[in-house]
């Protein structure tokens, strides 16, 4: 087992898949000569050359659509968006073309494409550069959505995504790139649509994904030491398909659920999870499901304010205490 960063895990996934399958290529802004805006594609241009690591003009709609076309012709493109905020310009290519061509063609053209990049808030990037794209894509039939929280999951999921015959939206996190974690040696694949129990507990289920998994784990430590509450942390790892089975199984055991999501509350991805829980596990609930989300406002620039907008460990602890009737 090696200990590597999330960024290195992604690099390894790209390298392994590009070596394994000659039809896999990477395209996006700064992916080649710059080694990637976040250095995820470091060294790949040297190994694979410019047709397989293609620097694009700043034209998200154009190169995302180009990727879809290449997929129609049988290649396996990995389209990098520098951040998912910019991908809004390519929303048409993803939603109207990538997600629908298989369906509209009656099954004749599948689109084995991966769209990847960092989403969510980083540090003081302000309103246009801090958005959480989760619900914009989880909502769309025809695509799959992955949200790895750890290096091992980033590696395994990106490999699975590249091998998947369907379009995959792969949401990373700028604040996750430096995170270190253990990663298995050899071929490591994580199935899309399968959650992972990152911490076992009996008293409450905390459902989270991406960066919020780490917030949840920190909250679980605090809950254990200060309140003797043992929280079970369910890391969704994918948002589409959503592993509702794992969530329900955990809630059946603990009878209490707190859902944590970074993005805005209204129609945020947490709302769907709460609906699934109340619909399928109503009789197992000892309290209403609580949801912790970011505040319903654009991201403020000031560091002091930014900290208040994004969910924190204390917010999660408060929610857990509430569903455990400790407040």
């Amino acid at each position: 087992m090696a200990v590597i960063t999330y960024r290195e895990a992604l690099n390894r996934a790209l390298r392994e898949e590009m070596e394994r399958d000659g039809s896999v290529f990477l395209i996006g802004e700064e992916v080649g000569e710059y080694d990637g805006a976040y250095k995820v594609s470091k060294g790949l241009l040297d190994t694979f050359g410019e047709w397989r690591v293609r620097d694009t003009p700043i034209a998200e709609n154009g190169f995302a659509g180009l990727g879809v076309g290449a997929a129609m012709a049988g290649l396996r493109p990995v389209v990098e968006f520098m951040t998912w905020n910019f991908a809004l310009l390519a929303y048409d290519a993803i939603v109207n073309s990538a997600a629908k061509l298989l369906f509209m063609s009656g099954g004749q053209f599948n689109i084995p494409i991966v769209f990847r990049g960092p989403g969510g808030a980083a540090l003081q990037l302000s309103a246009q550069h801090s958005q959480v794209p989760d619900p914009w894509y989880a909502n769309i039939p025809g695509i799959k959505v992955c949200v790895p929280a750890t290096p091992a999951d980033a590696l395994g999921l990106l490999k699975s995504a590249i091998r998947d015959a369907d379009p995959v939206v792969f949401i990373e996190g700028e604040l996750l790139y430096n995170m270190k974690g253990e990663v298995p040696d050899g071929e490591h694949l994580v199935p899309i649509g399968l959650a992972d129990i990152k911490r076992i507990g009996e008293d409450v289920t905390i459902v989270a994904h991406s960066r919020m998994v780490h917030v949840a784990l920190a909250a679980a430590e605090k809950l254990a030491s200060e309140y003797e509450v043992e929280a079970e942390v369910v890391d969704l790892r994918s948002l589409r398909p959503l592993d509702t089975d794992s969530v329900i199984a955990s809630v059946r055991k603990t009878n209490r659920a707190v859902v944590v999501q970074e993005g805005w509350p209204v129609s945020g991805i947490g709302a769907q999870i709460v609906d699934d829980i109340q619909r399928e596990a109503f009789d197992d609930l000892d309290a209403p499901v609580a949801r912790v989300s970011g505040l319903d406002v654009p991201m403020h620039y000031a560091r002091s304010i930014e900290k208040l907008i994004v969910p924190s460990v204390d917010h999660v602890v408060n929610a857990v205490k509430h569903v455990c009737y400790l407040d």
């Binding site: 047709w51 659509g65 076309g69 012709a73 369906f103 039939p141 398909p241 509702t244 089975d245």
Partner: protein
């Protein structure tokens, strides 16, 4: 538009090719007329955009291609689909929303696809397919092939973002794509010169170094054929893309819900353009050069009419899709947990 430089020695093309082109144009024309009739009888619903009047563009262009080349178009796609080789019955059944349609009834008028003949759709969002065509061009060069991509689109597209982004990439990277704008002077109900700051569209291509641009009489099937032949060779041999402005005209409205004239086009204009009907003028040329008899014409036209009738009958007899198809072709690989988990109350 100058029409003086028409080629007068059509014999060099060979009777077979010439009759084949006429036959295709007649099939496209009779098929679309049948579609119009079927739409008014309620067999076809939703949007339906007829190609009548523009047949020379599709036929001339596609006849210049190889079977391993690729064809993209927007939503006015019935003629290109059939000319490229999709079976009329399959296209008509798709229009009728039946099981034997090319997409099993899931796509409809705007979304004809056939992987076997490399007909890549059938796209409903204006301009959206131009980058897709560039992507296929990228794949061809990636694999070191010599195929060509032809991408048809309407004149409105040139004012939108995807046009510029696609043209920039294909010109910069030298992708084998032939972009053909079917300039029929109107973007739906808006005359091109009302919204295009530069309405001599061919000059738009001049912004992209490496891209060859030319303007062609879209009502002249031979001119189209020649232009696209050159463009394909340019792509295969030099790796250079081409932008062709085909000047053409549609005789019907933008779609079945749009009148042919009386709103944004005058009756006189339509009638005047009809005098330049691409099929009629082509027949005149063939006849005058002794390359076609009236019996030939009748035979070909009857065959086109019969094929269209057969297509409609085939479509009529095809069953409607089973409700189970709702969940088909949303994903090709496994979707854990299924798609119907939240489908209560059915």
């Amino acid at each position: 538009m100058e029409r003086d430089n028409q080629i007068d020695d059509l014999a060099a093309y060979g009777r077979e090719l010439l009759h084949d082109m006429l036959s295709s144009m007649l099939l496209a024309r009779r098929f679309e007329e049948k579609v119009a009739e079927s739409y008014q009888m309620g067999r076809i619903g939703g949007f339906c955009h007829l190609y009548i009047g523009q047949e020379a563009v599709a036929v001339g262009s596609i006849r210049a291609l190889r079977s391993d080349d690729y064809v993209f178009t927007a939503y006015r796609d019935h003629a290109q689909a059939i000319v490229r080789g999709m079976k009329p019955g399959s296209v008509m059944a798709e229009l009728f929303g039946r099981v034997d349609g090319s997409s099993g009834g899931a796509g409809g008028s705007m979304h004809m696809f056939d992987a076997d003949v490399r007909f890549m759709g059938g796209h409903g969002i204006v301009g959206t397919h131009l980058p897709l065509a560039a992507g296929v061009g990228y794949a061809i060069r990636y694999r070191g092939g010599d195929q060509v991509v032809v991408c048809f689109f309407g004149d409105s597209v040139v004012n939108g973002g995807p046009f510029h982004e696609a043209f920039n990439m294909v010109a910069k990277w030298g992708l084998p794509v032939v972009y053909i704008v079917e300039n029929n002077s109107y973007g739906m109900g808006t005359a091109t010169d009302r919204v295009a700051s530069v309405d001599n569209l061919v000059t738009r291509g001049h912004a992209y170094e490496g891209m060859h641009s030319e303007q062609v009489d879209g009502q002249d099937v031979i001119a189209m054929y020649d232009s696209v032949t050159r463009a394909a060779d340019r792509a295969r041999d030099e790796g250079r893309p081409t932008f062709i402005e085909a000047i053409t005209y549609r005789y019907h409205g933008h779609s079945m819900s749009d009148p042919a004239h009386g709103t944004y086009r005058t009756k006189e204009e339509v009638q005047r353009e009809r005098k330049n009907d691409p099929i009629a003028t082509f027949c005149d040329r063939l006849t005058s050069q002794g390359l076609m008899s009236s019996e030939d014409y009748d035979r070909l036209d009857k065959a086109a009419i019969a094929a269209s009738e057969d297509a409609a009958e085939f479509a009529e007899n095809s069953p409607v899709p089973d409700p189970a198809v709702i969940y088909e072709n949303v994903y090709q690989d496994e979707f854990r947990g299924g798609l119907d988990r939240r489908d209560a109350w059915r």
